[in-house]
């Protein structure tokens, strides 16, 4: 009798947990699906479900030169910021990853701090400093600002990849007479490459999507895609933005799928 009671109790627990988990997963995925469906509407409003389906807003997107221009700027800044983040971040990760020294731990905290500090406050601060030293806002200041907020992802993922590395591999390589540089090129780099790529990917995505830093550090001529979209949404609810969102969602899904194959992204973020 008590056995049966316990089973009921276990069932109630599993039922409640599973139901909440499924609801939560639906809440996570639903918004993207809704935007995708609405983007194929044949009507002029964002009504759901759409009155009919067409590709007209995607065709409209083809001619939206303002969005093309903004997308190009965002892409260029994101590529530069990612490149700079990888160059600076991987070197720093090599230095601090295996060190127990206080200085290494302090540097680690410093390099991670842009992740928790409000990016808008940093954007304002950087603008004030640049104007103080007489450096006008430009694509260069954008790249610098984006690098500060994106480099933590590269450092974190590279440090995590280095932590998985067997120190004995490096010792054996040294004992066999390989130089440090040779060992790095032939052993360390191939083993941590997926970690670096995963970090670079997240850095790229967060730069491409950045609003708070761009708001302060761009010049009038440099329109950035997320800011353009944000301003369009503040004004009117344009269906073209739904089509653009559709493109971005599909591109993100495709990139995540590629990254999952190349780097095992999902395991990397839960370890």
């Amino acid at each position: 009798m008590s056995g049966r009671k316990r089973t009921l109790e276990a069932i109630s627990f599993e039922l409640v947990m599973t139901v909440i988990a499924v609801i939560a997963l639906v809440i996570i995925i639903a918004p993207s699906l809704v935007v995708l469906i609405v983007s194929f509407t044949s009507g002029f409003s964002l009504r759901f479900p759409p009155p009919g389906y067409s590709l007209r807003w995607y065709a409209e997107l083809w001619n939206a030169w303002q969005l093309h221009f903004a997308a190009k700027n965002s892409l260029i800044v994101a590529l530069w910021a990612t490149g700079l983040s990888v160059a600076l971040g991987v070197a720093a990760a090599l230095a601090i990853s295996r060190s127990q020294a206080l200085s290494a731990r302090l540097l680690d905290s410093l390099f991670m701090s842009p992740l928790v500090l409000p990016a808008l406050a940093f954007g304002l601060a950087a603008l004030m400093l640049f104007s103080l030293v007489g450096l006008p806002v430009s694509p260069l200041t954008l790249v610098i600002g984006h690098t500060v907020v994106c480099v933590p992802y590269v450092v974190r993922n590279t440090v995590a990849a280095l932590a998985q590395l067997e120190p004995t591999l490096l010792e054996s390589s040294a004992v066999l007479g390989a130089s440090r540089l040779y060992t790095f090129r032939r052993i360390v780099l191939p083993l941590i490459r997926p970690g670096i790529i995963a970090g670079a990917f997240i850095a790229f995505m967060s730069s491409f999507d950045n609003v708070p830093v761009s708001l302060f550090l761009r010049d009038a001529a440099t329109d950035m895609l997320p800011i353009r979209m944000w301003q369009d949404l503040e004004g009117k609810l344009d269906v073209t933005i739904a089509a653009l969102s559709g493109v971005l969602i599909i591109a993100t899904v495709a990139l995540v799928a590629v990254m999952e194959r190349v780097t095992g992204l999902s395991r990397r973020l839960t370890n």
Binding site: R6, E9, A10, F13, M17, I20, A21, V22, I23, A24, L25, I28, A30, P31, S32, V35, V38, R47, F48, L88, A91, A92, A95, R98, S99, L107, L110, F111, S113, V116, L117, P118, L120, A121, F122, L124, M128, L129, G145, V148, V151, P167, I202, D209, V211, P212, F216, P226, M229, L233, L237, I241, S245, L248, T252, V253, E260, S266, L269, T270
Partner: protein
Amino acid sequence: MGAAPASRDVTSYGMGLAAPLALFFLLFFVAPLLQLLWLSLHNDTAGLQWGLGQYLHFLTDPFSLGVLGSTLLLGAEVTAVCLVLGFPIAWLYQRVGPKLQTIIILIVLLPLLTSVVVRTFAWIVILGRQGIINATLQSLGIIDTPLKLLYTQFGVVIALAQVQMPLMTLPLITALGRIDPNLDDASCSLGAGSWRTFFRIVLPLSLPGIIAGCTLTYAAAITAFITQSLVGGGQMLFMPMYLYQQASTLQNWPFAAAISIIFLLAVLAVVSVFTTLGRMSRGYGGA
């Protein structure tokens, strides 16, 4: 002469490799923040007259304090919703096979990597007057006039919770994965029910993950400028928008700097409270 290089540690690299990034941060991260602090300690816009005027203005102005309070409250609400919804996802993840695990992770990851503007836009479509919720409720005859969901606290909390959910769920999945499954079985075979085992064993042991998730979610939720302004609309003002208005529209840089510093300190205070709790729970949880 012969023995020199053998003692060198080949498994670690010199701290010199961190110098370029350290210099970069010094110039473009630390220096701007110091400049921000410096300007916030001035009473005039030109930055000539030292004083605590900006801080006194903020701390004696009920409006400013209200904005700070509602921002901190918003963060707490979003974090609570994320925890209640995110924990069961992490729990489910540990129960299913590898195929479903990958699917769950990808569902959780996707919003993290999708543009915030796109995610927020989706919530406008869902919560709007003609949005899905209102349309469904009206067609079912539950309501006659559309509910006001957009531009409300409820709307902002639910949208932010969805946007920040991955930041809560990923550390929870990691933490739950580290718990020895035998503990669960032991508790059950000793007669504790599933609920009791959950609250007495699983929940306390996952505290490090809960605290990591709460820190990330809270910090992200209170600074989520785009979602706050688009879903909250003009009537609801939170710290990031307040800061932006003062800096950009009103060009009141010293006051904007003071707002930034107060906001930074508030975030740091919350993060360090969570970190301290995390350190304490690590001793308790043994993870």
